[in-house]
Amino acid sequence: MAVAAHEIEEQLLIRAGKELVRLVIIGSVDDGKSTLIGRLLYETGALYEDQIAHVRRATKNGDPIDFSLFTDGLKAEREQGITIDVAYRYFETGRRKFILADTPGHAQYTRNMATGASTADAAIVLIDARLGVLPQTRRHAAIAALLGIRRLAVAVNKMDLVGFDERVFRRLARDLEQFAAPLGFAQLSFIPVSARLGDNVAKPSARTPWHQGGTVLGFLESVEASRDDPQAPFRFPVQGVIRPHLDYRGLAGQIASGTVSVGDEVVVLPSATRTAIRAIESFDGPLSQAFAPMSVVLRLAHEVDASRGDLIAHVGAAPAPRSRLDATVVWLSERPLDPRRAYLLKHTTRTVPVQSLAVTSRVDPETLAEHPAESLALNEIGHVSIRCGRPIIPDPYARSRATGAFILIDALTNETAAAGTVGEPADATDDAQPGGRKIIVIEASDVLGAHEVEGFLSENGAIVAVVHTLTAAKACAAAGIVAVLLGRPDDDALPGDAIAIDPRIVGWREAVRALFFSRTDSPPPGSKCSV
């Protein structure tokens, strides 16, 4: 096939500026998922002649080409005839390159689905037209929503086996729409498909003249990818320190969200040290500005103590360090959640010990109902309350995936036990007090320290009282007085916006200042944290 030189040049130029879109495809055994993927790869030219020849040889004599054979990878799975893990496929169209996470959808594989969905911009859910909306279909939609996927295509497959009947398709779409309404998808597209025969996969089918909703490939080409929003708050988790010699100290990391410019005033968390961006550096030279998801090196204006696990944010738009979290988790380990086991929590580049892990409820993904529970088993989803030994610096997952996600690691076996998403601080409304004053409770480790904190707060214009009981602290807080509470009460009883200060740690003043005084106009919602 002859291709003109200028066409090649053009293709390369277009390709250099392609957009990367991550997808997840979810379906149960026998929904025809492998066939649909094989068909997509085939239709977009992602398969090579030798691969096609190989599959032709493996297809039973006389049958039409078996598209599912393009994707079945591991020997074990070929023997079992099912997909047992997440596989990643790559294909591209004129303006986009796609990374497709191929996940099996039966009940026992929720963890695979969650893995694939965690990075996806959009999802394709497969339904067998003959079977209609099954409990598992509802589970697929719910998990996609839980992991922050806002755009969903529902491919109603095997339409050839129901005679391309519009009524079957409409009924199914109506059923799922009803269920999905509370999940808040921004886009829910239904497409009647025959993956085996190719109807509405890449080309509109003549057998569904009643369908105007486009093809699967059309959805992928046009779906709005969750783009990194340059207006989002700047978040930079520090991965490590670059120190080639004594005169150079740079902080290496990947911008998790937002934009940063040289000269910006920033705060290093959790120490809350204020400084400014002196330089943004890369292998290719200095930059005046950088944005997510670039990997860069930041140099700060002052010699501040910043290292791996710290987070850099703009002054006035910094998240609060928190050691108590309400979160939703998917349990990934064969070993059920055990509150007495030791877990580590890894959030961005920061790994902290978990002091307590309590299940609030288990979520039934097929009905979205919450049930009381004390533990979670493999593939179960639940709401939990977590207290960390050291604070993390999260955003709610709904606002920022990169800084709202975490994993739990079993400290003994090292396995990844759970994946979690940080919820909105439960008592965010408590912050909206009359007069805009931030109501806080501060724990202190010793009397002298408590008075030091009290003095510092007073100097900065706060009304302060040192108290010894939680009841007194709450009463103060209710009256708009900052309570410095001595000792460590049961954390579960603390109000959501309580923060813990250890006055023995250098930098606590900066922490208090950054958390309370740098933005008295608009306090951040919730600041359950300790510093």
Partner: protein
Amino acid sequence: MTHPIETGTQKLSHLRMLEAESIHIIREVAAEFARPVLLYSIGKDSQVLVHLARKAFHPAPLPFPLLHVDTTWKFRDMYAFRDRYVAEHGLRLIVHRNQRALDDGINPFDHTSQKYTFALKTQALLQALEQGGFDAAFGGARRDEEKSRAKERVFSFRDRSGQWNPRNQRPELWNLYNGRIDKGESIRVFPLSNWNELDVWQYVQLERIPVVPLYFAADRPVVERDGNLIVVDDHRYRLRPGEVPKPRRVRFRTLGCYPLSGAIESDAVTVRDLLAEMLRSRHSERQGRVIDHDEEGSMETKKREGYF
């Protein structure tokens, strides 16, 4: 701005997104492991990997050495390129050979490619990792290369004997990698997991990354054996009766041991030619790898044993 294509758009092209993701992975490993090493095969993927690692720690030098597992059967051009490249960039290079297997006379002519690969690559690699006490080894493998790689993790967990068990791999969500291991255990890390062959070449072009000249067409002495075009790189090649090397204009899509690497006929002499040729080509790059054709699922078998 250093990236002219993206000036002012506040949006990264897919290549820059892949680059940023790979650098993130490399830095995570450097931060969480005591003794990482970068497996350096001298191929284009290795070149991209080393380039990304240099970017990740710039202006500091690479915080880990390169390891070349040498079968002694690489192309002469590859050895020359390797030595020049590491010298030019001041990189630390460890070269390891399975000397016992070489002393036993294991070679690509008398032994099956499985036996040869196991002794001079898989075993040699495991020896080198053990001798160096390395707990993390970067590799340039990509998921699009072969079907059994499609499920490979970015952090691929290996047990105490360096082996891979598909049932024992950790789920990877978001960009949160679990790098915790016990004594004696290790991981293989694949920062290029999400790249494909076209991405690699386009990045080579964009970043002007040097690669071994064997990727470009030249007249080379070729014999045709079992459907493969083999370049007779030195006197050790055992010619069969009647085989006479004839000059043909060929290049390689993948590089390995010369007696096991199939060339393709080509006129591509620049990266741009090569990209143009790939856009026209309808064959996967592994087609030229003699060792993959031994049995269905052979890559998976090798991986279980500890090969990359």
